[in-house]
Amino acid sequence: MGLKDKLHKLKLKYKDKKMAPAFNAIHTFLYLPNEITHSGAHVRAADDLKRTMNTVIMALIPCLVFGMFNAGYQHHLAAGEIEAVTSGFFSGEFWTWNNFTVGLWKVLPLVVISYGVGLAVEVLFAVIKKHEVEEGYLVTGMLVPLIVPIDTPLWMLAVAVIFGVVIGKEVFGGTGMNILNPALTIRAFLFFAYPTWMSGDKVWVHGAVERANEIAGGAKLDAISGETVLGSLAQGKELSYSASDMFLGFIPGSVGETSAVLILLAGLFLIFTKIGSWRIMLSGVLGALAMGLIFNGIVSADWISESSKFYSLMSTEFWHHLIIGGFAFGIVFMATDPVTASQTNKGKWIYGFLIGFISILIRVFNPAYPEGVMLAILLMNVFAPTIDHYVVQGNIKKRMKRLKLKTA
């Protein structure tokens, strides 16, 4: 008797029992279920929610692997143990085993905690509310480790994940019903609850905080600092990274957000597979460029003096905004979440454009935390139903007008 039959027997045994959702969640991972059509169309297309989610995860894997190498690279670079990259994306200084192992041991626990805690909460709710475990968390669980600083303490992450899944999703009724993007809810929770771990110049490079504590304790060591590009710009410091570094991703930042080139490829992959909305991605980029151009225009019209604290961010070339910070990652992976985005095609254009526009606005004017994409997406998540409402009203009005013409 094969595994298939054994699992089938177990499924029948667990049917209508409390643990059925938990068992079925595991079972459907191994086998596409034996469910057949009962009403309506007798045949169905190949795609299900798992396949959809899995496609997004596949797009995230390169970012994850790059993030592991980059974590090690930034650590070793800041400690002065290796030289900076010299020869493009495939530089030998970057793709070393040494870099990878450091990153692996820092990033893997984040992934494990994110999935372990998140799925546990999901299963718990499925068992209590007697519904199947839905796949929403598959993507969220992968996004979370990629959008936090590398040294985030694991207990903090666990607390944030519980908060995000329960308050961000389950209280609204679970997958498909939530208003805010769960991954960003988790990050926002971390950001407001533990701000010292989410911003500043110490958290972006592995070992920096530890070293700072040692120095404070009297040890005679060189401080490790690793500031993000945005952090430097916000303080008007000289930038030590070239545009190509920023595009390829050899810069400090949250684990998976740094490599714009990989995110670009992932975005194209999602558009090609028809899983991600090209409308949101394109309009998001257009929105960011528009805001960037406005700021560049303000600078070139001399409406702002060089002494202003906003000057260096405003004068950043408009297209650089696309490749620094978490903007690219947010637009490709977070803004396109179908549940929290606008649901109408017209609405998606407006929604995406405003995310891009507001991201850069917040980025430039927020003195405490020089990144805007998280807050911009959360803000637009809240407004997405309103955008949809007006788009749908347009359709309703058209129908009413047709009726009036008829009866007039």
């Binding site: 034996n34 169905r44 190949a46 795609d47 179908p338 359709n395 009726l403």
Partner: protein, 451 residues
């Protein structure tokens, strides 16, 4: 005014087992069944009790709400059983067919000299009225409410469905008589849509407006054509008739007899030699299927109708009243190892998420009845719109139906759709939601609350 309608949004589901264009005579069925459930929303009141002898065209029952609306026996013979289910609901009238058919004579009519009321009375009395359906609500037309137009779709796009061009061949005279009669029932026009290519016998009929249409499924759905030609507003009624039923109406007027004969397609990947059969409404499906033979008999689904909108009738079931095809496909009650993430070559997919049907646009697929996933909440957005050629927001309308929001349903265009229009969105739905059921229940609720 004649129109050339081009539909871009949609999806042609290409399946193995298309019926070959040869017509054979089906074996005569012993027993025929008329199932009141085929007439949605009709509560039957028995006229022909068990044991009565009926002729073809004699009424079996009438509608509880309108006793003039008669439902006829397709054959002559003896009522051997009235099958009842829970709460004594009538499930089927079973008629043991005579060897020699006897017909009730309704009298030969000259349509040109008939008035609208004459036509109406005649169709009601002869049992042909149920062939006329109405939008909104996709139910049998209410004879007391005048339609603004009558629509007939002569274009076939549903997967493996009987090709209207083929089954109507040589029936020009009946078709002309029937549409002339129908044209007296409306102040407006009778609209017929025919495929742009192809040679439909519906093409040069008089007393009608003919439109040409092209594009993928659901272009053949009559609601799509109504939406493009003369969309339904609140308070308006449109009638629709399937062209195969025009033949029966035409024959009634020309010969005075209700002849329920019909050419149907037997199709599907489980059928050994798929082809067309001449048979009678209500026949045992086995009388058709086993002429052609099936593969893997223990593992088949027999569908009266097409794979998107038909009814699961089991091998001992009967051909539905409105259906003109029988489709037999394999059941899919099996597990597939890592079926959710491995590359898929043998199934149709609207995406490219490791599914490769986009590489082979002309490949024919052998699909079974597996859902390829479990029921989930609505998550993905924007995909239904690609196969839904209406100026309607499908996801929003479905959600309005789920929460029984009558105002929203009305505003979002519920009057313009039938469940069959949501067959494709249901087919591609990632969350495997039962769209057609949702729409049917929504329409029923509206009918009950608004009327």
């Amino acid at each position: 005014m004649s129109k050339d309608i081009r539909i871009r949004k949609g999806l042609d589901i290409k399946l193995v087992g298309e019926a070959e264009k040869i017509t054979a005579d089906a074996t005569r069925s012993n027993v025929y069944a008329i199932k009141p459930e085929d007439f949605h929303g009709i509560v039957p009141k028995v006229i022909a009790k068990q044991g009565t002898e009926v002729k073809a065209g004699d009424p079996l029952f009438h509608s509880k709400s309108n006793e003039n609306m008669l439902f006829p026996s397709p054959v002559s013979g003896e009522i051997i059983e009235i099958v009842r289910g829970a709460k004594r609901k009538i499930l089927a009238f079973k008629i043991l067919g005579d060897k020699e058919q006897k017909y009730t004579e309704f009298g030969v009519k000259d349509v040109n000299s008939m008035s609208g009321d004459d036509v109406k009375t005649h169709l009601l009395a002869s049992g042909c009225w149920p062939f006329i359906k109405q939008r909104p609500y996709d139910i049998i037309a209410n004879p007391d409410k005048a339609p603004k137009a009558i629509f007939i779709s002569g274009y076939t796009t549903a997967p493996l469905a009987a090709d209207s061009d083929y089954i109507l061949q040589g029936k020009e005279k009946e078709l002309q008589t029937a549409v002339t009669a129908l044209s007296k029932l409306t102040e407006g026009e009778v609209h017929i849509s025919v495929g742009k290519k192809g040679s439909s016998p519906l093409k040069g009929l008089n007393n009608v407006t003919t439109h040409t249409i092209s594009g993928p499924h659901p272009a053949g759905n009559v609601s799509v054509q109504i939406a493009k030609v003369d969309p339904i507003n609140k308070g308006e009624v449109v009638w629709t008739v399937h062209p195969q039923d025009l033949v029966i109406i035409g024959e009634l007027l020309l010969t005075g007899r209700f002849n329920a004969e019909r050419v149907i397609a037997l199709a599907g990947s489980s059928v050994k030699t798929p082809k067309y059969y001449k048979t009678i409404i209500g026949t045992e499906v086995s009388s058709v299927i086993y002429n052609s033979g099936v593969h893997d008999e223990g593992n088949i689904r027999v569908i009266s109708g097409d794979v998107l909108t038909g009814e699961n009738v089991k091998p001992d079931g009967y051909l539905g009243y409105y259906h003109n095809s029988i489709t037999v496909i394999p059941e899919g009650e099996d597990y597939e190892f890592f079926g959710w993430n491995k590359p898929v070559f043998n199934k149709i997919s609207p995406s490219r998420a490791l599914t490769f049907s986009w590489l082979f646009p002309n490949k024919k697929y052998d699909l079974n009845t597996n859902t390829n996933g479990e029921h989930r909440a609505f998550v993905v957005t924007g995909s239904y719109e690609n196969v839904f050629p209406f100026d309607i927001y499908p996801l929003q309308l479905l959600k309005a139906c789920v929460v029984n929001d009558l105002d929203a349903m009305e505003q979002l265009g519920m009057y313009e759709v039938a469940p069959e229009d949501f067959a494709l969105t249901e087919f591609i739905c990632v969350s495997k939601q039962p769209h057609q059921n949702i729409i049917r229940e929504g329409l029923d609720l509206m009918l009950k609350e608004i009327g």
